[in-house]
Symmetry: C2
DNA sequence: TTACTAGTTCGTTATTGATCGAACTTAATA
DNA sequence: TATTAAGTTCGATCAATAACGAACTAGTAA
């Protein structure tokens, strides 16, 4: 079973999250999660026209930047936003993404 | 005399500005400008330990993304934020950058 | 005219990053 | 015990990017 690593948010810089969001695919992922913030999604529930290796890569980038968290449930990896933590560290970021 | 090109803000995407801000140097530049938003700065007034070709490159990236505007005055190029336009298109972006 | 200053452009190098197919792992299920 | 499903990892390719020195341009000043 995969053990995901999640950074402490205090170690995440603004440049880190900007970098993580500097890709249209990853913005799509985050926006999809923002539509139902309470519900965790499996990777391939989010519609993207990319190979699954690429998909895995993008989730990894988002995870490493602290924006999302992933837990394993059976054969799936369920991903959700680290909403409250990120909102505290980067106030207004979620709103910016969902509205712009 | 150099003729700078500035994009229309409506053609700028969130991914574009995230990309432009995905670099510590460029974040420093923008934060410097945010400290005195009314005052335009010449490129080398902003302290950065990089070669001038690199400096020119970073200003170009910020300009192309629509975040800054540049006008020529004598031998200098004066740069300022496109503050109101960007605030309208990406509400909360400036606050996010200055506070996080 | 000459020299200086500010900044751009060019050519190059090195690094990062997006993308994919193929092979792999782990858990659930037939 | 296969088989399937979800996702990761590996290795490769290709594009984009950061960085620099050197040469260049345009304006200002000596």
């Amino acid at each position: 079973m995969k053990k995901y690593r999640h950074p402490e948010i205090k170690n995440v810089t603004l440049a880190d999250v900007m970098q993580a969001l500097a890709d249209p695919c990853r913005i799509k992922i985050v926006r999809h999660l923002l539509n139902e913030p309470e519900r965790p999604f499996a990777c391939n529930e989010i519609p993207l026209r990319i190979a699954k290796a690429t998909r895995s890569h993008h989730f990894d980038v988002l995870r490493t930047s602290g924006l999302i968290q992933t837990r394993v449930e059976g054969t799936k990896s369920l991903t959700s936003l680290r909403q409250a933590e990120i909102e505290k560290r980067f106030p207004g970021l979620w709103k910016l993404i969902s509205r712009s």
